[in-house]
Symmetry: C2
Subunit: 470 residues, 2 copies
């Protein structure tokens, strides 16, 4: 079913470079060139060059530049910002906050005025109360009301994601009447994928992809084009659910309803793409012990946001270490154990992390929950025992030869089977348990798990050693 009017192949020079080139406009050379021009004080040239940039690329440039240069460039694009605030929507929030400091509330308001209501909302929702008020006060009344209304919805809810601009028509309209309405109306969103049909109480009852309208004769009833059942999203639904529904059902656009089920806005897939990105980044960061992206943060802010996690880890590390303290006398007589300790503990940590990663992702994707938990847990235990045994054999051999004592090999081997076996099991159990008690599995799992694997590892190795070697 390819396009019918495909022309015959023609011999022509290829142009992959050209197309791949378009992928990164703001590459390292570009950034360097700009910084050099700025150092040379040739702002006029910089202005001419960046005038050609897409807002998203301009945002990248601002992020990449050294803070001083960034301030200079913001100075250059000041007048441009008043006309089009789109670039602000593409900025990392730390960089944006820094740039906002440089601008007056009036300038920011001017920049917001041209944006879709949902973008405007995103830009100011993180601001300080008073700063936000100043900007809102400077906004056109109608726009201000929309944004303020948006702020009444909980953070990370569908109400914050949705766009207030949408098209809704009654079921009984015809294609012709709809087209005439669209041609006549002047206050419509720039681009939209589908229109909603509503009942007399303005509750969404169906949706019609524009393509179906375009392909039908004017006399056709909208009711006959309506797409299978729609899935209204309540304004207070968490954005994670929203992303899930879009993914699950391959939606491009979904109606948002209020408590009475009335259509109040629309969420489009491009908003959801950002959410999916955020959620994935979130899990990645939490597993890595990062509260949020701090790439553009100053040293002290970064230290502050990372310290709590490290402090918790130190407490747990001391707990594990105190197990070692129980066996000081054993270590004193068989120092080789001090050499083998990190191997046993570390391998348990790695095996556990593997199981943990799969479990955390599966929970986030709603593929792992109580209905299949036991199947997964028992599997992980077996996987741990299998790999544990294989690695234990190798470790036993190496340690035996290293310290010229087969029983030391025996001890580390046995310890590794125990630790790696249990590590995989706990790797899946910890996140499941945390979820059960209402804690985000991604955020705390790693600490608990490493404490467990260290403790079990030390206990197994040193305990067995005390029992067998002494």
């Amino acid at each position: 079913m390819t396009n019918p009017s495909s022309p015959p192949p023609s011999e022509e020079q290829t142009r992959p470079e050209e197309t791949t080139e378009t992928a990164y406009v703001v590459d390292d050379d570009y950034v360097r060139r700009i910084s050099e021009l700025l150092e040379a004080g040739r702002t006029g040239e910089v202005e001419r060059i960046i005038a050609l940039l897409h807002s998203a690329d301009l945002a990248d440039l601002l992020e990449r530049l050294h803070p001083e240069d960034r301030a200079t460039v913001v100075g250059i694009i000041r007048p441009l910002l008043r006309l089009d605030g789109e670039v602000l929507t593409y900025l990392n929030e730390d960089v944006r906050a820094e740039i906002f400091k440089q601008l007056t509330p009036q300038e920011i308001a001017a920049a917001l005025a041209g944006l879709d209501s949902d973008d405007a909302l995103t830009l100011i929702e993180d601001l300080e109360e008073d700063e936000r008020e100043e900007i809102l006060a400077a906004l056109p009344v109608r726009r201000r009301l929309l944004v303020e209304e948006g702020l009444t919805f909980p953070e990370y809810s569908a109400g914050r994601l949705m766009q207030r601009e949408y098209i809704a028509v009654p079921m009984f309209w015809t294609v012709g009447k709809t087209i005439d309405y669209l041609r006549a109306a002047d206050d419509l969103p720039d681009d939209f994928f589908l229109i909603f049909t509503v009942d007399p109480r303005h509750r969404p009852v169906g949706s019609v992809p524009l393509s179906r309208i375009l392909r039908s004769r004017r006399s056709v009833k909208i009711a006959d084009l309506v797409q299978d059942e729609i899935r209204p999203i309540h304004a207070t639904t968490d954005q994670e659910e929203v992303a899930y529904m879009f993914r699950q059902y391959g939606l491009v656009s979904a109606p948002v309803v209020d408590d009475a089920g009335r259509l109040i806005g629309v969420i489009t897939i491009d908003d959801v793409v950002d959410v999916i990105d955020e959620e994935a980044e979130d899990d990645l960061f939490k597993l890595g012990g990062i509260s949020e992206d701090d790439l553009y943060r100053a040293v002290l802010d970064t230290s502050r946001s990372r310290l709590p996690w490290l402090a918790i880890n130190m407490v747990t590390a001391i707990v594990a270490a105190s197990v070692v303290a129980l066996f000081e006398s054993t270590i004193a007589s068989v120092v080789a154990l001090a050499v083998l300790m990190p191997i046993v503990a570390g391998m348990g940590g790695n095996a556990g992390t593997q199981a943990l990663t799969v479990a955390v992702r599966a929970i986030a994707m709603r593929e792992l929950s109580s209905s299949n938990a036991w199947r997964v847990l028992s599997k992980e235990l077996l996987v741990g025992i299998v790999n544990g045994s294989l690695l234990a054999a190798a470790a036993a051999l190496i340690a035996g030869l290293w310290f010229g004592d087969p029983t030391i090999g025996l001890v580390i081997g046995a310890a590794m089977i125990i630790n790696i076996g249990l590590a995989s099991f706990f790797g899946a159990l910890v996140p499941l348990g945390l979820r059960k008690i209402g804690v985000d599995p991604a955020v705390a799992s790693a600490v608990f798990l490493t404490t467990l694997t260290d403790t079990i590892g030390f206990f197994a190795l040193l305990g067995l050693a005390t029992w067998i070697l002494l």
Copy 2:
């Protein structure tokens, strides 16, 4: 700019439950109910219940069920599959592979026949050569040619992602002529967001959102509605680039071109959502030491896929342990060091992982590269020194009291500043270095880093101890 015909608010009972409820159709209870019915052999009821499911939910159910039950359900939906293979597109590939074993090539071909070319392609690209041939042979000729052509593009390329069905019209057409063409044509994609304009050589020169066509009079020239410059994607472009471009420029749909720059297909944002998901999952898994999602794998397959990483880790663990071996005599005389070793090494690992996580994500998001590398590296070093000093102070105090010896406190404190300071620095340097030599930063960073932090930690602690305490 909300919808003009908004009706007055009406008092009505709220219905959030209803809307949230729609979010998970296949929850634990649902799965349990089905399994129970299956055990009771009441397949007729099961058939009636699952007949109501959306394909995506049916796929979830199949994934969640115990393999035996799954086989039974596949048996039940067999006839349904011939008519609509959509459910197959939603399945995890391991589960799909298992289900394919149960179906005949003819049945699979029948299921594929109704799908879009890109979906059909995804379903068979991972199959064994011969298995794939059998299915292709059973496909309708025209469909088979499209799929076979798709297979000629490299894996994970735009050519594999794209849909062959698209709409292209010449620049000089009017809105009226275009609408007439769309109404008359019978071999168009079901739903589409925009149409492309092409030059006489069939190269894409612009795109027009359907909403603009709908809102324009028949006499308007398509050329006047064309959207700002389009970004053709070459068929061999990697899907990661494709996802980047969609994200960067907020595209909903982009033209795919061949070497001669001719339009050969279109990629829509819903395909890209899956790619974004995959890429994010990929980084998460690699950092966790997982080659791919193995939730649905059998024990031995899972063990096999996880073992290599663990083996590498054991080698590196032994390298780090051998550092400890250098100081056996020191440990023999100050056993407390064996207790403190894991604390120093572990904290370095955690601090390093924080820096590593931010760096890997930033590299993937194209926010970190040589142009800002040094700024980030020097910042990480400072962050490490700041947090290292704070934690070192605490550790020194605790260790000093614990072992009643201030010099031991001094030693661990100094060791922690050194290790945490360097750990943060290397946490950012390792992924940057791997990328420079063309290795995926996500996949190998963790091994290198932990080896480094362990080695440095042991060396610092035991070295200082030997120097100061003995």
